[in-house]
């Protein structure tokens, strides 16, 4: 049967599989090799799953991860959950013990279908050889149809080894009604109601989530923003959906959002939310403030509309189709008072000035200055991947995404260890483009064993480790919320990351200035040589601000030093300070 399964994958266009082999999957790996599918030998199955997730996000078709039964399969679980919470298309294929010993606690038996039920869009255990083809085609298609997500197919070893010639034409799919994943056309009445709300809004704001990327709807978002003169704010995954250098894009809002984005969302009277599930990380808290706003919620998944915030108007539709319909309904909007936008740009300017001043006082590198330096060097289409931790939050605030689809992060699950394997998966998906992995020392240590693939498969990625020797986001909470009791968040100076890199035959550097950061990043990207760059960060100073405490509202953000006088609550009576008024209404990007 495995020969047939490998052929089906090949027919589906699968050319690469990421995984770790083992007793219950080796027959399938053998069949993949016979079909010339390239197998990338990850050093841990979690890495293979993250790579498949990232590959899927870049290619916009499922990445495939394969592992053996028992620990091989359970090691995939974190990666599968990560793909689930970030709606990324991936297919996991697991070996399983023979059906004859099911439930007998056989060696390396785990009910992986049961384990992954809550974190897969679909999973299926193949009990007969003739099910393998339909199961694979179904799982592959479901991974990208409608809202993307991970799927899993489990192959018991005895079924794998049964002879199956597939002489008759087999059914293509399992009995799934795929049509329900095609979003309905936007309801014209709902679109009209939404258009009326937007036309009458005093301070409309567009909140963009990751769904805008999947719907390729960023041109419509920007046209609508320009028509309405509405600021655009994003979620963390929504950074991937709109170019940060558009003058109306304020950046990400939320717990570690940018001040001008938090201010925009907090002071909106009408929020047009597109392709987002209204995470608590984005809005701080749902009530009372969020529920007092008029919310138009567009999502292709009907179970998301009204899940966290009851919308005034809910539109279940493809984001692109819904926005096009809205644009048709909004032929002419009276030009609004630009005061609100001017105020947001004032907030931005104060914020940037405060960060510059803060950077001058830092004993070691200011993380955001490193990011801005890297951004100057990296070409616009560089794929940027992050780990999870303070470096990720700094990147959320200060890394500008110029090309939609070039920002990969673990947003929903918040998986430390995502960066290195996801960067490898992204590089496999786009070998012609630079891939930059912005990681933290804690996150890096969770999956650094996968560095072995860099030389094994010639995957020259640029890794920048923000090395504060701490689990800094937790330490941050300990400082603010636990009376500075620092428990289990500070590391020693071991291991030496330069030696780790050297062990994998990768150049490592410890820059001492931003000029050196620029020089080495440029060298790595230009020459396509892998690099590990270790950035020394002080773990007493590395507090990611602004920060909205859990349960607080966006205007209550703890601001960076020097902004104590800056209110995030908009007043219609606000007057621009004199020097700014003289510059008219400049809307230049950051």
């Amino acid at each position: 049967m495995v020969d047939h399964a490998a052929r089906v994958l090949k027919e589906l266009g699968v050319t690469e599989v990421f995984g770790v082999t083992g007793g219950s999957i080796m027959g399938f790996f053998d069949a993949l090799a016979l079909e010339d599918v390239e197998i990338y030998m990850f050093r841990h199955e979690q890495g293979a799953a993250h790579a498949a997730d990232a590959y899927g996000r870049v290619k916009r078709r499922p990445g495939v991860a394969a592992a053996t039964s028992g620990p091989g399969a359970t090691n995939l679980v974190t990666g599968i959950a990560n793909a689930y919470f970030d709606s990324a298309p991936m297919l996991a294929i697991t070996g399983q013990v023979p059906t004859s010993v099911f439930g007998r606690d056989a060696f390396q038996e785990t009910d992986i279908v049961g384990v992954t039920a809550p974190i897969t869009k679909f999973n299926y255990q193949v009990r007969r050889p003739e099910e393998a083809g339909p199961a694979l085609r179904t799982a592959y298609r479901l991974a990208y149809e409608g809202r993307p997500g991970p799927t899993l197919v489990d192959f018991p070893r005895d079924v794998q080894l049964q002879r199956y010639l597939c002489e008759e034409e087999e059914q293509a799919y399992l009995p799934v009604d795929f049509s329900k994943y095609r979003p309905p056309r936007p309801d014209p009445a709902a679109v009209r109601r939404a258009a009326r709300l937007l036309a009458a809004a005093l301070r409309p704001v567009i909140l963009v989530g990751g769904g805008v990327y999947w719907a390729r709807a960023w041109p419509e978002v920007l046209r609508l923003a320009e028509l309405l003169q509405a600021p655009v704010v994003t979620t963390l995954p929504g950074k991937n959906s709109v170019p940060a250098n558009h003058p109306l894009v304020m950046g990400p809002a939320g717990m570690h959002g940018r001040l001008e984005a938090d201010a925009a969302l907090a002071n909106a009277d009408v929020v047009l939310a597109v392709g987002t599930r209204f995470s608590d990380r984005t809005v701080g808290r749902f009530s009372p403030e969020m529920r007092e706003k008029k919310v138009i919620h567009i999502d292709s998944d009907p179970s998301e509309v009204g899940k966290n915030v009851p919308p005034t108007v809910g539109i279940v539709a493809d984001a692109k189709a819904a926005l096009q319909a809205l644009l048709r309904e909004l032929p002419a909007v009276p030009r609004r008072d630009r005061r609100f936008l001017e105020w947001l740009l004032y907030v931005r300017r104060r914020y940037e000035e405060a960060m510059e001043n803060w950077a001058r006082r830092m004993r070691k590198f200011a993380p955001w200055k490193v990011l801005k330096t890297l951004r100057e060097v990296a070409p616009p289409d560089t794929i940027t991947v992050t780990g999870v931790g303070s470096h990720q939050m700094w990147a959320e605030q200060h890394w500008d995404v110029y090309v939609p689809g070039t920002w990969l992060t673990s947003a929903g699950l918040g998986t430390m260890g995502f960066c290195v394997p996801a960067a490898l998966g992204a590089k496999i998906a786009a070998r012609d483009r630079p891939v930059l992995c912005i990681d933290g020392d804690g996150s890096f240590q969770m999956t650094m064993n996968n560095l072995a693939l860099v030389r094994d498969y010639n995957l020259p990625i640029t890794i920048v480790i923000f090395d504060n020797r701490a689990l800094m986001l937790v330490k941050h909470w300990q400082i603010y919320l636990y009376d500075r009791r620092i428990v289990a968040t500070e590391y020693t100076s071991r291991p030496d990351f330069a030696k780790i890199a050297e062990a994998y035959d990768i150049e490592a550097v410890r820059p001492t200035s931003l000029d050196e950061v620029r020089k080495w990043a440029d060298w790595s990207i230009r020459t396509q040589e892998p690099l590990v760059m270790i950035i020394d960060i002080d773990n007493e100073e590395d507090l990611v601000l602004p920060w909205v405490k859990p349960g607080d509202w966006l205007t209550e953000a703890v601001k960076p030093p020097g902004l104590e006088d800056l209110s995030l609550t908009y007043s219609p009576d606000w007057e621009p300070p004199r020097p700014m008024a003289a510059e008219a209404s400049t809307t230049a990007g950051r």
Binding site: V113, P118, L174, V176, D177, P302, S303, K307
Partner: protein, 101 residues
């Protein structure tokens, strides 16, 4: 029991006893996946019954106390499952004093 028979769209957020009927395929694996989602809804369940038909289809009936928004969330989540052909949710007995899970 006198059923109100209110559809999922009309039931608003009324508190009471809800019934969900699910038609699906894939046997016990589907039941497991349905239950996995149902246990995350804030409903206090009173009954669950499944009939496996010779055609390979199954019919699962769930009853539980709670708010309309929870029943609606659960119905929407179940409807998204590839194994599920049909979901019907209805309010059987409004009861503002009922408490959810």
């Amino acid at each position: 029991m006198e059923a109100v028979e209110m559809g999922v769209e009309e039931m608003g957020n009324a508190r009471g006893l809800y019934e969900l009927e699910v038609e699906a395929w894939n046997g016990m694996d589907a039941v497991m996946r349905i239950v996995n989602i149902a246990r995350r809804a804030k409903l206090r369940y009173t009954e669950m019954r499944t009939v496996f038909e010779p055609t390979g289809r199954l019919r699962l009936r769930l009853m539980g106390w709670g708010e309309g928004s929870e029943a609606r969330w659960l119905a929407a989540k179940l409807e998204r499952m590839p194994e599920v052909y049909r979901v019907e949710a209805r309010l059987l007995r409004p009861d503002e004093d009922a408490f959810p899970a």
